[in-house]
């Protein structure tokens, strides 16, 4: 098998057919033995042991395609080797942080959740992209929501590789039954009322975890507010959640938590647990905010015979609901950015490799094979992608990423997120009059080191 792929600069990078693991493992074994036996000699005759290996730490999403990208982007100068991070976002962050805090020079490339970029960049763990690469990473072709995630303090620290976003998924029959016109932007209030009326559910993610903060952030931004501002000030950032926008967000959560349309497991709901209510054994289905993987997920159910084609055709999608009437919603933006380790021994190679694995072709491959949506505008026009997804859905994804709102960038993001979860969970106890204020006070105390989290 011989593949070629055009990289960003139009060069053709050849991929050598080989058994990657076998050869690398062998080489590493030989390397270790050599090191132990002949360390002094090595210094004299280094350079003969083949091209250096760049370690790329990836999260376990779409590993097959990432493996192909690693091979395609390996050149005569370097080989890219995948290193798998744990499944949980917290564990991924902790593992990378431990390496980088110890100035690990074998961490060359990293798949980063957008919220890690500011934290890592501020800690001095990420290589700042040189002007040319920075322009490339944030050029006009890159969707705005994704481009915002790689910038910290006016500098660029990563390349967006793919972008995730949430849309409102629903059963067309349910919306019709409730008389909700889905061709117009809808508000959370309308969605909850409609589901209540028709006996359906509203699926969200409200367990005490990161995705709950994603929801809160989208609600606050949808009301024109933000959780913090003056982010660069670190722990002295201005806390904005105790505002009308914060209250509007809390009002939505309160309304849903008290409604019949809430999932029974609302307080522990996650991306997976809300999927089941779309095609329940009994009942009209649900409205659900969820990430882009949902389309392929339900399509797979048709293939496995769990739902019929007719039921699948009943699946509708619309822009993320607005928090307040008349104000455009800010859909959540997630995805993965590729950063270069600040202590890498081969930063130039790593930069080149990072650019290659985030190229338009790479993004199309990730989208078509893995359902991970592109962060580049042009990738959405790929004919291959048009075969895999309905045109209007692609348009919706693209538009959502372009006009969506990322979570707050801050060196203290982990603290901010945990503090919010601590006060806003359980959703059943959220009160617009007290929760935003309480969470603002608590966050202030935690950032000042006056309260434990």
């Amino acid at each position: 098998m011989r593949h070629t792929v055009d990289d960003d600069r139009g060069q053709v990078v050849a991929r050598r057919p080989r058994s990657v693991l076998g050869r690398r493992a062998r080489r590493r074994g030989v390397g270790l033995a050599a090191l132990a036996l002949a360390a002094p000699l090595l210094a004299a005759c280094s350079g003969d042991s083949g091209p250096p290996t760049l370690n790329w730490y990836v999260n376990p999403d779409g590993v097959d395609t990432l493996g192909k990208l690693a091979e395609q982007c390996s050149t005569d100068d370097y080989d890219i080797e995948l290193q798998l991070l744990p499944t949980g976002a917290t564990d991924q962050r902790v593992q990378l942080a431990r390496r980088l805090a110890a100035k690990d020079d074998s961490t060359d490339l990293m798949s980063l959740d957008p919220v890690f970029v500011a934290e890592f960049a501020n800690a001095g763990w990420l290589e700042e992209l040189p002007q040319e690469a920075a322009d490339k990473a944030t050029e006009d072709d890159v969707l705005r929501g994704a481009a915002e995630t790689v910038t910290w303090d006016d500098k660029v620290y990563a390349f967006p590789q793919w972008a995730n976003t949430q849309v409102l998924w629903f059963r067309k029959s349910l919306a019709e039954q409730a008389g909700l016109d889905m061709s117009q932007p809808v508000t959370w209030e309308q969605v909850i009322d409609a589901a209540n009326e028709a006996g359906g559910k509203v699926g969200v993610q409200a367990n005490k975890y990161e995705a709950y903060v994603v929801w809160i952030n989208a609600l606050v931004q949808g009301a024109g507010g933000q959780i913090i501002s003056d982010n660069e000030a670190g722990k002295d950032a201005t806390i904005e959640i105790d505002s009308e926008a914060g209250q509007a967000a809390a009002a939505v959560i309160e309304q849903l938590a008290g409604a019949d349309a809430a999932q029974p497991d609302l307080t522990t709901s996650n991306e997976g647990s809300s999927l089941g209510w779309m095609y329940p054994a009994e009942g009209p289905g649900e409205f659900m905010v969820n990430w882009t993987f949902v389309y392929k997920n339900y399509q797979g159910l048709v293939d496995s015979g769990e739902i019929t084609q007719e039921q699948f055709d009943d699946l509708g999608w619309a822009r993320y609901p607005a928090t307040v009437e008349g104000e455009q919603s800010k859909p959540p933006v997630g995805g993965i950015d590729i950063g270069v380790g600040a202590f890498s021994q081969h930063p130039e190679f790593a930069l080149e490799a990072a650019e290659c694995v985030t190229s338009e072709e790479a993004q199309v491959a990730l989208a078509v094979d893995e359902g991970l949506m592109p962060a580049r505008n042009s990738a959405y026009d790929s004919p291959k992608l048009a075969e895999a997804y309905p045109k209007d859905l692609l348009e919706l994804f693209r538009d959502s990423v372009d006009t969506g709102g990322p979570r707050p960038e801050s060196a203290y993001y982990a603290t901010i997120s945990a503090a919010l979860q601590s006060v806003w969970h359980a959703p059943t106890s959220v009160d617009p009059d007290s929760t935003p204020e309480e969470s603002a006070d608590f966050l202030r105390d935690v950032l000042d080191g006056k309260a434990l989290l």
Binding site: T90, V94, A97, R98, A101, E119, F120, N122, A123, G124, K208, G234, K235, A411, Y412, A414, T415, A418, D448, G449, K450, A451, L452, L453
Partner: protein
């Protein structure tokens, strides 16, 4: 390091001449030479110990007076004892301390009883001695994380067997959904895992009890119960107290089972886990270090209390006296 040596008549006379009572004369040439050699021999070990224990401890002490996040190294500021004040006035700290003390008291008490039974079995068993001793010790040979996972599966309502075995529970009872059952599950795993350690220490104590005394008690007509309470237990008091001391200090630092089984959710968090979250997950090195210093102090306090309250003589337990 206790040096035993037999004083020669000459040395004895010298000591008397200088008006010093008691055996080893401190400045006899030979003992001075031995002491000097002893110091030289232990010096490397002391240096290594200082590097691996004293340095991290002093470093933690130093970091604990800063408000310092790993992701914002430039914002680091000296805050004095603020971190300690924050920790000691925070309800979360006291809740976690309470939970940790609960873990310690319950697990050590139960382990002491079961461990003693196991020790008796290992001590008295007349057949298949090797097999029985080995099977009692197996749990201690299993890594705590593995034992944590095993018990998590056992307690799981989806694929565990515990709910099926307990007739008074619903089949879908979620052990990890609420504080009390989750804490019980964690304790069970902890007890299962460390009871063998307790019984090993107690077995050593049992072996110390002289058979003659037990025989004598028997001849005097003491019942089994009386022999246990009046002869065996008092004679192995030192071993029991050492076992309690070691296990209590261990139990106070409980971490693995909590991390595996609940990740600190539903109020099962211990002080170690709180410290871990601040330092490793939140990157808050300042408050995290302050918490670890407090943890260290509480461990010292517990050790001190046990040693003082029960008048444990560590030297006696090691049969050095």
């Amino acid at each position: 390091m206790s040096t035993s040596y037999v004083a020669t008549a000459g040395e004895d006379a010298q000591a008397k001449k200088r008006g010093k009572k008691g055996a080893p004369s401190a400045d006899s040439e030979r003992s001075r030479g031995e002491n000097a050699l002893g110091r030289k021999l232990v010096a490397p070990a002391i240096v290594v110990m200082l590097i691996v224990t004293a340095f991290p401890m002093l470093r933690a002490l130093y970091l604990s007076v800063f408000n310092y996040s790993l992701t914002a190294p430039e914002d680091r500021e000296f805050v004095g004892l603020q971190n300690y004040v924050t920790a000691l006035t925070d309800p979360l700290f006291w809740r976690d301390t309470g939970v940790t003390v609960l873990y310690m008291l319950v697990t050590v008490a139960i382990e002491l009883v079961i461990g003693f039974v196991f020790a008796m079995v290992m001590h008295r068993v007349v057949f298949a001695r090797g097999v029985i001793r080995t099977s009692i010790l197996i749990p201690y040979g299993i890594i705590t994380v593995v034992s944590g996972f095993a018990w998590q599966f056992a307690f799981s309502y989806q694929n565990g067997f515990v709910n099926g075995w307990l007739p008074f529970l619903e089949a879908d009872f979620n052990w990890f959904g609420d504080s009390t059952p989750a804490i019980i599950a964690i304790m069970v795993s902890e007890i299962w895992k460390t009871t063998p350690f307790m019984s090993l220490l107690l077995l050593a104590g049992l072996a110390q009890v002289s058979e003659d005394m037990i025989e004598a008690a028997k001849v005097d007509g003491a019942t089994w119960w009386q022999r246990l309470w009046k002869v065996i237990l008092p004679n192995m008091r030192a071993a029991i107290m050492v076992a309690v001391l070691f296990r209590a200090l261990d139990a106070y630092r409980i971490f693995d089972n909590i991390a595996v089984m609940t990740a600190g959710a539903v109020g099962t968090e211990s002080i170690s886990f709180l410290t871990y979250r601040q330092t490793i997950e939140q990157f808050q090195l300042g408050i995290g270090s302050a918490l670890s210093v407090l943890l260290f102090l509480s461990v010292i306090l517990i050790a001190f209390l046990i040693v003082k309250l029960f008048k444990v003589d560590l030297a006696q337990a090691r049969q050095e006296s």
